[in-house]
């Protein structure tokens, strides 16, 4: 009884792998499908989470349960991820509408970004370094006792 779902899952995985492997376009199509499904769920339920993020969780779920193998999707996903800049660069031209950035406002914004980023980097790196050492110390204590 218990074996039936895992057998179907493995069959699905093999079937998906066979039809998608080596075909980046089909992999991208599946990702687009998950995105559209996520958007539909997000809109119909009124969840405050973007549909694309729901799609991300759906794909992660399929990977964790083994319904889709990593090797089935990796190349298609890389097609999208490698050229991500192209897909948001149009928005950057919003600067054309803001000639005030050429003056004092622009300098202020730059100051906020530079100083803020410096602080973010320092705080994050120090927090992670301290946390890492703490974790190692706790683990070695556990190992001793």
């Amino acid at each position: 009884m218990n074996r039936t779902p895992s057998v179907t899952k493995r069959k699905t995985a093999i079937l998906l792998h066979k039809s998608l492997h080596g075909n980046r376009l089909a992999q991208v199509a599946l990702i687009v499908l998950l995105w559209l499904a996520g958007e539909a769920v997000s809109r119909s339920t009124g969840l405050p989470i973007p549909g694309s993020v729901l799609g991300l969780f759906a794909l992660l779920y399929l990977l964790i349960t083994g319904t889709i193998r990593l090797s089935t999707m990796r190349r298609g996903a890389n097609v999208l991820l490698a050229d991500m800049l192209l897909f948001f660069v149009p928005a950057v031209l919003a600067v054309l509408d803001h000639s005030e950035f050429l003056g004092l406002v622009g300098l202020k914004v730059l100051a906020v970004i530079f100083a803020g980023t410096l602080m973010v980097m320092c705080m994050t790196a120090l927090a992670v370094d301290v946390g890492y050492r703490l974790m190692l110390r706790m683990e070695s204590k556990h190992a001793v006792s």
Binding site: V32, L59, M84, L96, V120, A125, R133
Partner: protein
Amino acid sequence: MPSLETILITVFWSAATIAIYLLSKRTYRRWPAIWSSPLVLTPVLLAALALSLHTTYSEYIGATRWLMAILGPVTVAFAIPIYEQRAMIMRYWPVLAFGIVVGSGTAILTAWALASLLSIDGMLRLSLLPRSVSSPFAMAISEKVGGVPDLTALFVVITGVAGAALGEKLLRILPLKSSLARGALFGMGAHGAGVAKANQIGAEEGSVAGLVMVLVGLVNVLAAPILAYILR
């Protein structure tokens, strides 16, 4: 039916955007430097072209908005790097979670505080809040908290360039023992550009940075409704 003119404008600006992007990538491969990275070169060249043709932003974005729709599938594809790094997540999740919470908190608080200090307010200040988050996530957050997503994309790019440049200098000053901390510094502080920089420093730093970047995006998107509630 869209007019012939609209179609022509759409085709022209879409082709120009893609061509300039590919050209920038090539230029960077030949002369790798921060000023020649596609992140800087593509928007600068596009802006120069738009200005010389007297094209307004609304005309331009009307023609190229379809490119930005692809950010939806890009976000879904981020599931792959998360899954690839699952061993690192399992091993170091408390440290990563701590770093992401501290980093995201610092990012939002410093943006708000510094902007207020310099008397930047309204939608400009709100658009600055998610600047430390990778752009597909940042634009979604910006919309949720009442900012202008397009301006946020601009600030995200500036943050990436600034962070990649600053991060290298910071590494020389900060006494960081772990590659985890070095990678997190770039992934949290400078998202995409930071990940590229971290990869130059080391493979481990690169994969930490990439993972942190995606997780920061996710955590911030999930926290955005709370942030929007506080700001209201």
